[in-house]
């Protein structure tokens, strides 16, 4: 198989996979989250503004950590504000989500 054919096959496979996966919208109920651990799992449906912001901004780049101490929640949010260019509103809502 030459390189051109290989690339075509790869692209077709990728396109088919993407369409199939995107079409497979989740119908499975999400698990109920609890703060600081399961709350950060991506399976959860948005419950409030902070969680929605978390899923839209933080989870866009990385998997959520399984849990962390509430003592560093402010540090994490400030780091994310700089790195993800969060607005002040997003920062406040995210901090509220981490510390209800």
């Amino acid at each position: 198989m030459n390189s051109r054919h290989f690339l075509y096959v790869s692209l077709v496979l990728a396109a088919v996979s993407a369409l199939a996966l995107a079409a497979q919208q989740s119908s499975t109920p999400a698990t109920q989250p609890t703060k600081h651990s399961a709350a950060l799992k991506q399976a959860a449906q948005p419950q409030d503004e902070g969680e929605r912001i978390f899923q839209q901004n933080c989870a866009r780049c990385h998997n959520a950590p399984e849990g962390f101490s509430p003592r560093i929640s402010g540090t994490i949010v400030r780091h994310m504000r700089v790195r993800a260019s969060l607005s002040q509103h997003d920062e406040e809502q995210l901090l509220r989500f981490f510390n209800p």
């Binding site: 390189s3 996979s17 989740s26 994490i76």
Partner: protein, 355 residues
């Protein structure tokens, strides 16, 4: 080769020890009073194995990240890379060759001046496109190797030394726009090497569509002044764990793109089920040489590469990363096999009472 192709600053030096002592001093002097603002230590520790065109290497790697708030508006943050590179000796010799590298990835201070305006000073990752700033940590990337166009490095270190302004320019319910602009001085310092240049990036994010589109620009202001352009498109359909990321970059003498897709299914008891933890990944990338001048980090001939990955997200922030890639170019085709495991840690810098 891992990380060295990603624009990371990986240089053996005893200076790094002093710099980390400095960072620890910052941690120690950080504001202890705020209950949620305790300095943190995060990062990843991993072990990678790679066989590239028949050449095998083993890389234990440690990437710590420190972040320490100072008062209500300042954050000092730094990341470093420590790794050992081990490979079998050639020429029918027994045993292994090895070398180690220690280097700062960045060390910066952030001052949140207002709701739309943050000032960054120090040694920062150049925010050209998205890969280097967002996806390069070992506990984030879906593949061991970064995309080839991450080597379109106008700065050999991938970082700038100077200042940056950034923030959220505008936010509405339907969209938000963020920006950054930076200027870097020239530096030949071992830990803070940088090229003189300036650039910026702006991104539009549509939260309902989960779509982000951005434009990047950089102008090299030393030697032969050159312009670099980039664009990125990210899309994550709502209520799925499917992510599509892509970048295009064009320099004076070469250009290229990559497209990456990854997916986790929720169909079998959610993402935390045994099947939901499986994450197939695919990346397609091409680079094109525009002329015969190979002053950038891209291959000297047109190159195509397809990466097929299968990652597994274990409990306790541990991730197995595997991939196979086939690369085509006029200089020779090759197979690249990679496996690795990464543990991500995240904790306060010291023990204390919960708020």
């Amino acid at each position: 080769m891992l990380r060295m192709t990603l624009g990371f600053k990986i240089r053996a030096s005893a200076h790094i020890i002093r710099l980390f002592l400095f960072a620890l001093a910052v941690l120690a002097s950080a504001h202890r009073g705020a209950a949620q603002d305790t300095p943190l230590i995060s990062g990843g520790v991993g072990f990678f194995n790679s066989t590239n065109a028949g050449n095998t290497s083993y890389i234990p790697i440690f990437e710590p990240l420190l972040a320490a708030p100072l008062g209500q508006h300042v954050l000092v943050e730094s990341r470093a890379a420590l790794l050992e590179f081990v490979s079998p000796k050639g020429g029918n010799q027994s045993g292994y060759d090895h070398s180690h590298f220690i280097g700062l990835t960045y060390l910066q201070g952030d001052y949140v001046a207002s709701r739309h305006f943050t000032i960054v000073a120090g040694d920062y990752l150049i925010p050209f496109n998205t890969y280097l700033e967002r996806l390069s940590p070992i506990w984030i990337g879906n593949f061991q190797d970064g995309p080839i166009i991450a080597n379109l490095n106008f700065s050999s270190s991938g970082s700038g030394l100077g200042g940056m302004i950034r923030g959220n320019a505008m936010q509405r319910s339907k969209y938000s726009i963020d920006y950054n602009y930076y200027y870097s001085a020239r530096s030949a310092n071992e830990q803070f090497s940088a090229s003189r240049g300036s650039g910026g990036r702006t991104s539009l994010y549509l939260p309902e569509q989960r779509l982000e589109v951005g434009l990047s620009y950089y102008r090299l202001l030393q030697g032969t002044h050159e312009n670099f352009y980039g664009t990125h498109v990210w899309w994550e359909p709502k209520d799925t764990a499917f992510r599509l990321r892509s970048e295009f970059a064009r320099g004076q003498h070469a250009e290229g793109y990559w497209v990456e897709a990854d997916y986790r299914t929720k169909a079998f008891r959610g993402l935390e089920s045994a099947i939901g933890r499986i994450e197939p990944v695919f990346r397609m990338q091409q680079t094109f040489r525009l002329d015969t001048i190979a002053s950038d980090g891209l291959p000297s001939v047109n190159t195509q590469r397809a990466d097929f990955g299968l990652d597994y997200n274990l409990p306790h922030n541990t991730r197995i990363i595997t991939s196979y890639a086939r690369q085509f170019s006029a200089s020779g085709n090759r197979n690249v096999w990679e496996t690795g495991i990464v543990y991500r840690f995240l904790s306060p810098a010291w023990k204390g009472k919960h708020p």
